[in-house]
């Protein structure tokens, strides 16, 4: 079907495309919000355990903060030695 034969609005698909990308964006935001809220919920219990790196107790027992248990460094605690620094080669 040629453009010429299309109804007038179909030749100017700007509005439908805009709503399509808007829909995609809204969908993206929705997924982001849902995943964030789920992550927060599952992290809520874990976040109850504070980072104890730097205390004598953690030197013996290890730190039970969720980032430390995941092998990552807690950026908030300068005494945290879990995980690694990012050092460009």
């Amino acid at each position: 079907m040629s453009v010429r034969n299309e109804p007038p609005l179909a030749r100017y698909p700007v509005a439908p495309e805009e709503s399509k990308s808007m829909r995609s964006f809204l969908l993206f935001v929705l997924v982001l919000v849902c995943s964030t809220s789920l992550a927060c919920r599952s992290g809520a219990r874990r976040s109850e355990v504070p980072c104890t790196c730097g205390t004598p107790e953690a030197d013996f027992h290890g730190c039970a903060h969720h980032l430390c248990l995941a092998g990552q460094r807690n950026p908030e605690n300068p005494d945290c030695v879990c995980g690694t620094l990012t050092i460009p080669k």
Binding site: V49, A58, L85
Partner: protein, 327 residues
């Protein structure tokens, strides 16, 4: 389309600086935020761009030993057995005992031919860790903080029961544990002395038994005996809680009872949480993770906000998923 792109760009721009910052600690205790830009292995110098945009270079001897450990940990791959062994020794000498134990495990895994070295250095780790534990207990006792002293003694007995220092720790527990635990309810005992002679007598007897059995579990020479003593201590605790409820109902208008009951309840719960965590620790060492988790959950059922119980549960989960760090 412009709006979503702009929003996304804004989100990314907001997220980047937070993600990019890392903190490094100098020997002086000063903490600097920024980002490592390079590490010169030969000269042992870390290049760092501070939050303010300043480029600085620090020889490792200017950094806090934890930061030095972190740098070494960042540049030595897990597959480098000898490197991990050296890193473990560094961690041990810096007092990072748990990290040292983990690194010895990595070293052995990466290079099984290092097993004898790992065993020798691991024995040294256990020795210095036990000595450090005992030193902490002595220091706390000297400061008059017997509760802190008992915490370190329990750590030594649970984690390093075969070290020579364990004998002295057991003697210190024997001598100080009950004294410290009994002192917790001294004020209540004075206030409720007449009730303790009559209605509270049964509860008090079980309370004292619970403390004795906790102590005896800590100094028991074998795991089975310790387990049995701690389980009996928990039964004592249940009786105490029942007695407290009974008295609170029996004397609804007695202000002393109504005021004292929650305090005795809390003391009892604290003691029971401690016992559950001793059991959890013992089961974890034996890799009985289900049983350990059950004890941690029981502790949390009594005190959902107990930081020690929450941490214990997280550690048990970790050990159950990834294996126990062998000291």
């Amino acid at each position: 389309m412009r709006l979503p792109c702009a929003s996304l760009a804004l989100l990314v721009a907001l997220a980047l600086p937070a993600a990019a910052q890392e903190k490094i600690k100098l020997k002086s205790g000063k903490v600097v935020s920024g980002r490592a830009t390079a590490y010169d292995d030969d000269r042992q110098i870390l290049s760092f761009r501070t939050e303010a945009g300043e480029e600085v270079q620090w020889p490792l001897d200017q950094l806090d030993s934890r930061s030095v450990y972190l740098i070494y940990a960042s540049v030595i791959p897990k597959e480098n057995g000898k490197g991990q062994l050296q890193l473990a020794n560094f961690a041990r000498d810096a007092g990072l005992y748990e990290h040292a134990a983990r690194r010895y495990g990595y070293a052995k895994e990466a290079d099984p031919s290092l097993a004898a070295d790992v065993e020798r250095e691991g024995a040294q780790l256990r020795r210095v860790a036990a000595e450090a534990c005992l030193a902490k207990a002595r220091e706390a006792r000297q400061k008059g903080d017997e509760k802190e002293a008992q915490k370190w003694l329990a750590t030594l007995l649970e984690r390093l029961p075969n070290e020579p220092q364990a004998a002295e720790a057991a003697a210190m527990v024997e001598e100080g544990y009950a004294r410290e635990a009994n002192a917790r309810d001294d004020a209540l005992e004075q206030k409720l002395s007449d009730l303790l002679e009559k209605d509270l007598k049964k509860g008090k007897e079980h309370y004292d038994k619970m403390i004795e059995r906790t102590r005896d579990g800590l100094t028991a020479r074998n795991d089975g005996k310790a387990e049995s003593l701690w389980k009996q201590a928990l039964k004592d605790g249940d009786v105490v809680l029942e007695e407290i409820e009974r008295l609170a109902k029996k004397y609804p208008d007695d202000a002393r009872v109504q005021e004292g009951a929650p305090k005795y309840r809390q003391l009892t719960i604290d003691q029971m949480v401690e016992v559950h965590l001793h059991l959890a620790s013992q089961y974890t060492v034996k890799s009985s993770f289900k049983a350990a988790m059950k004890e941690a959950n029981a502790a949390l059922a009594l005190d959902p906000k107990s930081g020690e119980a929450l941490a214990a549960r997280a550690r048990i989960e970790q050990a159950s998923n990834e294996g126990l760090i062998d000291w």
